[in-house]
Amino acid sequence: MSVAEGISFATVAELGRMLRSGQISPTELTEHFLERLEQVGTPLNAVVTLTSELALAQARQAEDELAAGIDRGPLHGIPYGAKDLLATAGIPTTWGAAPLQNQIVDRNAAVIVRLREAGAVLVAKLAMVELAGGFGYEQPNAALTGPGKNAWDAEAWAGGSSSGSGAVVGAGAVPFAIGTETWGSITVPAAYNGVSGLRPTYGRVSRRGAMALCWTLDKIGPLARTAEDCATVLAAMAGPDPADVTTFAGTRFPSSGEAPARFRFGILKGSVEAVRPDVRANFEAALGVLAEFADLEEVTMRTLPYDAAASLIVGVEAAAAFEEFIDEGGPLGLTAPEDRVGRVDGLTITAVEYLRALRVRRVASREMDTLLAGFDAIVAPTLPTVASGIAERFDEHFVRDPTASLGAIGNLCGLPAISVPNGFGERALPTGLEFMGRAFEESRVIAAAAAYQARTDWHRRHPDIEG
């Protein structure tokens, strides 16, 4: 392994040790990843803006501080990229949408501020599906920067909506990236690009300064090489923020501490029947590994219209959040033709229909909490298939069986989940394993995923991308 390869695909923890041993400086590390982003990130359509000047200034400060004995912690001097819906003062924040490509929000999002306080170095604003995919895109070419290409195969999609965040971590162009998830936008690109992606509990991380797609479903979380790195980044970002009142619920449920001596996982009955054979084979192999440190028990969930509730809530809230944009004809400038008519449907949903979705959500949340109280996590394949082709329509590729993924129920109920790589399937593309836990039990799902990664090396595999 070359020195450059050793840096490109190192974990945050490993890079921190290199920085503190003097093996590399924050400035050298930042220059390395800026070059890497240009050489491998941009060709993947994963980069909106390289923040070179800012990054080098932040790196020099990190370097000076370390030399002076000031250590801000594990992210000190570590470069990262942020999904381009997180506001950054003085730098365009495009929300991935052509009509907003010159938008500059004159403030920093809360997570940008907190990562800066932790010493992290912002090297890029990363590509995303336009308006976080909330306008109903049906194929990958739905972004200002073009279709997001997969780190493992440029002919495959990177997933969405945090496409760039998944691709650049997968391609070794940043050690970690920040994504957001309303419904699958962290776990999907994590699984497709063979990296670890954490969706925190709704309310764990402040959304101040982030584009709102759906006020009651939006979450912000990290994508990184390992579950341990995701925990490190989450610790820097999480916590109460007076500007986002949803963050105060989490203060009643701080980290649950040490992992149990032996885990207990629920396996959703029927979850493997609905997935493709390659995904199923990898999941069943993963169950064999999990059985080494956990008791596994088949579980069933009450049948409820989880997908319908989540769809209707997103439909209404996105229509409301973008009502002025729609009224002004903004969607007509979007890249995907189907997005140009998006969310007009949401404007026709009645208030009673929306409230009914929220009433069903309450029932679902209680059912899930009762089920999850008996387990450290529910485990399932993150997605029923590997990534679709870069020009393929989703309805030609995806399995639409709602039992084939935890995405709808997990997001509807605001539950934390982590996706980690668990092998390769069709077209040599990565597959993902998802651990979903009880609300505010991020530390438990992270510990479970870390225990899996301690026994496997899928998270150590990476594509051979020159740069």
Partner: protein, 79 residues
Amino acid sequence: MDEQAADERRERIVDAKLALAKARFGDRFDQAQWDAIRENILGMTKCGDALRAVPLGNSDEPEIVFVPYRADDPAWGGR
């Protein structure tokens, strides 16, 4: 209500909602786009039907909590 009657009712509701959208954006879209919007409205209407099939009682509240505002409540942070 039998399946056919339910489908017919749903189609009437979709057409009414489409009329609402046309009243708001009448000259913006071509026919192909209106057809796509109708499909989207149909999809959302089916979601509504699926949700109505879940038995709920009068006291089953929506999953929202209104908190009366006080500037000195730490949870509001003085906003």
